[in-house]
Amino acid sequence: MPARRLRRQLRLVPALLVPTARAVGWLPALAALAVSLGLLALAVRPGLPLAPADLLRWVRYAMIVAALGYAFLLDDPSEPTTEGVAGSLLLRRTLRVVLLLPATAAWWVAVVWRVGAVYPQLPLPIAALTLEAAALLTVTLALAAAGSRLAPERRGGVVAAPALLVLATAAFHLPARLILYVPPDSAEWDSAHQRWTALLGLALVAFVVASRDPAHRRLPRSVRTLARGRARRHAARARQPATHHAEQHTTKPAT
């Protein structure tokens, strides 16, 4: 029952919040957000007029720097140990992301505010840029989730950060038909943002797929038949008269 399982998972959230907050390495993520803001503040400042295209490019650089911090958000060397706990991997990872969301929102508000304060007359396409930022951060999370299967000790950031840099470099060199980082007055603006939306969706799916709980993986066939046989025997014994039943409970059932 997916609904019941979901409810069961959500009931774990309050209990998991504080331990997760303690387990996350906040320094890389927060440092990246801070460095991102610092770079943006250096580049976008009153005495240095920028063309709208350059301004947008700096906002995008700031997004990439912030995303670098996200690359290390899912690093969790204890994952192999915590596989057996009730909260699924997806739930634990989502919690990490949710915990960083307030800081991310504050960072994004600061970015938009800084650009708006220095260039008050320039209409910044905030919705479209927010979509770009969300897509980039989700792609990074998907990379980190996928990377944790490759990297030692489930430290996916080791894979995700270089991969993000390579992908971002490639994204700036895409041919015109597939352009993602589109200049503000381009005819491709709308189609580029459709591509960003598609990327966001794909990244979300990839994140979920890469975060499938290893505890739910299919057991080898021999183990499954063994377990099913034991369960059947246990059920058969459970149907026996009550006297037997009480006797049964003196030894601990193996289910």
Partner: protein, 537 residues
């Protein structure tokens, strides 16, 4: 995973060898293993692919000027330098990630030796960068129309950047155990370098301090002769290598201090560090000196009298004047010039020939970005008026299409409105029929020229435009309306238009003939959009 050296020196040998030689051997063995891992690291593989692709994309279809192409290799190799930073950092921190630090205490290699191995392991990657640069330049040198000679220091700057990236990665690994630090430092370095490069591109010689950045692109105009460039490439290479050695020594020194090594080794490291810093500082001072007055005078002389630096030769219908050493480019222009001449009635062509095609580059932008000295001071061209052409040339791409269009349309303009009498300037009206005819002739030269004309007309930056980002007085101006009419003519069957134009040649090329009159002759009405006539009309 931890790195172990598979084949330790044979037991017998180790007993006979002195301790120093043994640990030297072990260091080299670890270096070999680490460099193999570095070369196979996914980030390095991806960056190599990016570098190769960038080199290929920038070189493909161009008529390369090698003393500009060597500067372009630095930007392509910057990707590899970034990968070197990340990969060496991950390699240095691998033992921390794997919890193998304590186990290393049992191996014969000290921390400083391991650091040295990591530093040396970058060298094969540097060699890979060198091979890429040499292969790229050899490929470009073999292309038709290739001119110039690469500068050794410019070509070596890309590999030096890789070495620098590797040193930064190792040092960061020895300073902090977080793998998150290196990507952040890398991004800060990349953005800083890009910003400094941008600052230079806007002011060139006005901001010599920008040479303190890592890589600086070539001036954004058609390549001038190498002697006029004046980039302090050699000193910049010394500067980068000095920083690299200083960072490497710092990493070694840190390792020595951590393991409380002998004082002598620490003192030696400190001496090397000081020497490297001194070399860096000296190179920094020398490379940021303003342009020498001799070079500045020479540039100014070229800007005010462009013909002086050119060597001329007559080929067929045209006289070609090029910078010394740029002669192979003439072969590239010849088909275009011949095609334009062939589209003009022979009698009219005989009156106008020979046309002079001459190199003109935006060298004035090295002297002052804002002021076009060639145009601003009313410096008339000292010789006869020419058909200008830049030094950047290639098969396809918007920039090269514009270059094709510039040559074809200028040659056509000189044929349509020839110089009458000695030293007299031709009578040129950009909004009249003669401009339409000249643009149509230019469009006949090649598909690239036609594409360049259509590009400039459909996306003009003002009502009167020229086919160059660095216009000189020789560049004939064009009106957008004439351009639109010429595009309409280019869509028509060629023979039909040619016949009508040839029959009425004197009328359609007369300076006073309007576009409307030309429309009547051809039986095509130009667009009636006369409201926004340019200021020259």
């Amino acid at each position: 995973m931890t790195t172990t050296v598979d084949r330790p020196p044979a037991a017998g040998a180790s007993r006979t060898l002195p301790a120093g030689a043994r640990s030297r051997r072990s260091t080299l063995a670890l270096t070999a293993v680490e460099s193999g891992r570095l070369l196979r690291h996914p980030a390095v593989l991806a960056a190599t692919a990016v570098s190769v692709w960038l080199l290929w994309r920038w070189g493909r279809g161009t008529a390369p000027v090698l003393h500009y192409a060597d500067i372009a290799t630095q930007f392509a190799l910057a990707a590899l330098a970034g990968a070197a930073l990340l990969a060496t950092n991950l390699a240095v921190l691998r033992s921390h990630r794997d919890g193998a630090v304590d186990l290393y205490g049992a191996t014969p290699l000290s921390l400083a030796r391991r650091t040295l191995s990591h530093l040396l392991s970058v060298l094969p990657l540097v060699a890979l960068g060198g091979i890429l640069v040499v292969a790229d330049l050899a490929w470009l040198a073999g292309m038709p129309g290739s001119v110039g000679t690469p500068h050794l220091a410019e070509a070596a700057t890309g590999p030096a950047l890789i070495a620098l990236g590797g040193c930064v990665g190792v040092l960061l690994g020895r300073l902090a155990r977080s793998v998150a630090l290196a990507p952040l430092v890398l991004v800060a370095l990349v953005l800083g370098s890009l910003t400094v490069a941008e600052l230079q591109a806007a002011g060139h010689d006005q901001r010599p301090w920008t040479w303190l950045g890592t890589l600086l692109r070539a001036p954004p105009f058609d390549p001038p002769p190498a002697a006029l460039l004046g980039r302090p490439a050699t000193w910049h290479l010394v500067y980068l290598l000095g920083i690299g050695v200083a960072l490497a020594t710092l990493a070694l020194w840190r390792s020595l201090a951590q393991e409380r090594a002998r004082r002598r080794a620490q003192v030696a490291a400190a001496i090397v560090l000081v020497a490297a810093l001194a070399a860096t500082a000296a190179a920094a001072v020398v490379q940021t000196r303003p342009t020498s007055s001799t070079l500045a005078d020479r540039r100014l002389a070229v800007v005010t009298n462009p013909a002086a630096e050119l060597v001329c030769q007559r080929r067929g219908p045209a006289n070609y004047c090029v910078f010394a050493g740029f002669e192979p480019q003439i072969d590239l222009w010849e088909p275009t010039v011949r095609a334009v001449v062939a589209a003009v009635p022979p009698a009219a062509a005989a009156r106008a020939l020979p046309v002079t095609v001459a190199h003109r580059v935006g060298l004035h932008r090295l002297i002052d970005e804002e002021v076009n000295l060639g145009v601003q001071e009313g410096q008339g061209p000292s010789g006869p008026i020419v058909a200008p052409v830049g030094t950047a040339w290639g098969r396809d791409g918007p920039l090269f299409e514009l270059a094709h269009a510039r040559l074809a349309a200028s040659v056509a303009a000189r044929l349509v409105a020839p110089t009458r009498g000695d030293g007299e300037e031709p009578r040129w009206f950009p909004c009249n029929a003669q401009a339409v005819v000249a643009l149509w002739l230019g469009g006949q030269a090649s598909p690239q020229a036609a594409e360049g004309i259509s590009q400039a007309v459909t996306d003009p930056y003002s009502e009167i435009f020229v086919f160059s980002h660095d216009p000189v007085l020789d560049d004939p101006p064009w009106d957008v309306r004439a351009g639109r009419f010429a595009l309409a003519l280019l869509d028509r069957p060629r023979d039909q238009v040619t016949q009508t134009l040839w029959r009425n040649w004197d009328l359609v090329t007369a300076p006073e003939t309007t576009i409307e009159r030309l429309g009547e002759v051809l039986g095509i009405q130009p667009s009636s959009d006369t409201s926004n006539l340019g200021p020259g009309c």
